[in-house]
């Protein structure tokens, strides 16, 4: 379960270009719920994800994951509870290390790292099995350096790394936006399968209105650092792309382009 209580963050406070990124934002996501976050550029989507992951320290407000207050926890401590897939495939993987080593790093996300050997036969076998679900042949390239993979393969790897170990919270930051349409579809399908199979509490930021309509059971629209609209249940099931775009105020043409 994720709970954000009146989160507030101001950049460049007191300067001419002061920017209110989060303006008392409150949000709650029940366990197993799949929330889709939409909103125009600068609405606070990235700030919100950064605040949840710990990369951004709030001026005020609280963030709770499964009831535990993580507001003052550094990024590496929160990592035990949450996993994140970035828009840029380069950010979520260690380029100069092999596929197997990257899987190992993710595997140890929430446990204490020891002085025992990292990669062993048991682990390799389980990583191969998990990667084979994608059908991209990554399971045969365990010793390949990740920077030799394509963007789509890297992003698929990031996804498998993130959902492994069933994190309490999965953050997806426009994770298919940088991919070609076919690869984006493969990654999106893999995401939906993993989220529903593992019943992961998920928050996905997207500019793709079709994704917002097709997936998830709650749509959250942000504007100027606040929740402008929340659609859930029956209403969410019936909503269309046209309905969603209708909610974007004057700044709609950018969103139309993006959808």
């Amino acid at each position: 379960m994720l709970e954000i209580r009146s989160a507030r963050k101001v950049f460049y406070r007191g300067q001419a270009d002061e920017k209110i990124a989060l303006d008392g934002l409150s949000l709650s996501l029940a366990t197993g719920e799949f929330g889709i976050v939409i909103g125009s550029n600068g609405a606070g989507k990235s700030s919100m994800l950064n605040a949840i992951s710990g990369a951004l320290i709030l001026d005020s407000g609280q963030i709770l994951i499964n009831g535990a207050d993580v507001t003052d926890m550094p990024v590496h401590k929160r990592a035990a509870k949450l996993a994140r897939v970035f828009q840029d495939p380069m950010r979520g993987t260690a380029a100069s290390m092999t596929v197997a080593e990257n899987m190992l790093l993710a595997d140890l996300r929430s446990s204490k790292r020891t002085l025992r050997q990292g990669l062993n036969a048991t682990r390799l076998a389980s990583y191969k099995e998990r990667l084979s679900i994608l059908g991209l042949g990554l399971e045969n390239r365990m010793d390949t350096r990740v920077d030799l993979l394509s963007g789509g393969q890297r992003q698929s790897l990031s996804l498998i790394m993130a959902v492994g170990g069933s994190p309490d919270l999965l953050l997806l930051d426009e994770h298919t936006a940088a991919l070609d349409p076919r690869t984006a579809e493969i990654v999106m399908q893999a995401t939906v399968r993993a989220v529903s199979a593992l019943k992961l509490t998920t928050l996905m930021v997207t500019h793709n209105m079709q994704h917002a309509v097709d997936y998830g059971n709650r749509v959250i629209m942000l504007d100027a650092g606040r929740v402008l609209l929340e659609v859930t249940g029956e209403e969410k099931a019936r909503i269309t792309v046209i309905d969603l775009i209708g909610h974007f105020s004057v700044k709609t043409d950018r969103m139309l382009l993006a959808s």
């Binding site: 996993a83 994140r84 380069m90 996300r109």
Partner: protein
């Protein structure tokens, strides 16, 4: 013909001495490689940590301490110096190179304070090289055995470490610190520990050098960094750096080859004062090679710093 024979004869004659020296200095090369390649933290601390280890060991030997105590103290002091450099970089967001320059400048004064004078003779004090059976003390054979054994142990321990869970995490910090942090790795701890470990190796090299040459000098670190870099470049060119095993072997192989090359150049009549210029040109050439290969046109005005 006579000239070539003379050169070869004098080169071969000093080969064992050079080998002993290069095995001792291989630890500095290791201390340069670990931050540079494993942590993506180009570090200059070794230029100060090497004499730091030497000075501490010298003072302890002069006071009658066991040579092992001297090395252990050098390790601890070097570790602390490396930790300071990493902390300066992490806490105050100062560039790693500048943090290293600050640290080595401050270490110069500290080294002088430790010794109380600029050099100290410890000739005749017991050394770790005395303990080799069947070898006359003070001769290169015993130094080769001791330094070679230590190098082998360090290589094997590091090779094991970088394949453990913790070691993989340290390498991830070098490969992608943001990703490492998101995977629950404490980037500060890994960086401080890793750079500290590297400086500990540099300092232990200084301690061994003092025991080998019989005196400590505050200026003994002068130019050690550029020599170490040159050795590392040669090692990587010869054994490669694609795997952890090769990357760890490169400092040792590089040190051995580099110092033999230097001794050959000196035997061939190169004036010693030109050595630093030659070494600098060599390192520059090795660093410039990739960009010369990549494109014939001039590089963009300000690319990312080449590493």
């Amino acid at each position: 013909m006579g000239f070539i024979q003379d050169v070869l004869a004098s080169f071969v004659a000093i080969m064992p001495v050079t080998l002993a020296q290069s095995l001792i200095l291989a630890f500095v090369v290791l201390g340069i490689m670990i931050p540079f390649r494993m942590l993506n933290f180009p570090d200059l601390t070794s230029e100060g940590a090497f004499p730091l280890g030497g000075c501490i060991c010298g003072v302890l030997l002069a006071a009658g301490a066991s040579p092992l105590v001297g090395i252990a103290a050098a390790l601890v002091a070097g570790f602390a110096a490396g930790c300071c450099t990493a902390f300066i970089h992490l806490r105050f967001r100062i560039h790693t190179l500048l943090a290293g320059i600050l640290m080595m400048t401050m270490l110069y004064s500290i080294n002088l304070r430790i010794m109380g004078k600029s050099n100290l003779s410890v000739f005749g004090s017991p050394t770790v090289f005395d303990w080799v059976p069947f070898a006359r003390p003070g001769f290169p054979a015993s130094k080769i055995v001791v330094a070679g054994l230590l190098a082998l142990i360090a290589f094997m321990l590091l090779h094991m470490f970088f394949r453990t869970e913790k070691g993989t995490a340290v390498r991830a910090v070098g490969a992608n610190p943001d990703m490492a942090e998101a995977q629950g790795i404490n980037v500060w701890a890994a960086t401080i520990g890793g750079v500290g470990l590297a400086s500990a190796f540099s300092a232990s090299s200084g301690a061994l050098m003092v025991q080998s040459q019989g005196f400590a000098d505050v200026n003994m670190g002068l130019g050690i960094l550029i020599n170490g870099l040159a050795a590392l470049m040669i090692g990587e060119a010869v054994v490669g750096k694609q795997t952890v095993w090769r990357q760890l072997l490169a400092p040792f192989a590089g040190a051995i080859i580099y110092y033999q090359l230097v001794s050959f150049c000196l035997a061939a009549g190169m004036p010693p004062p030109d050595l630093k210029l030659a070494t600098g040109l060599f390192v520059l050439a090795m660093l410039a090679l990739p960009s010369l290969k990549r494109s014939r046109g001039s590089a963009p005005a300000r690319e990312a710093i080449r590493e």
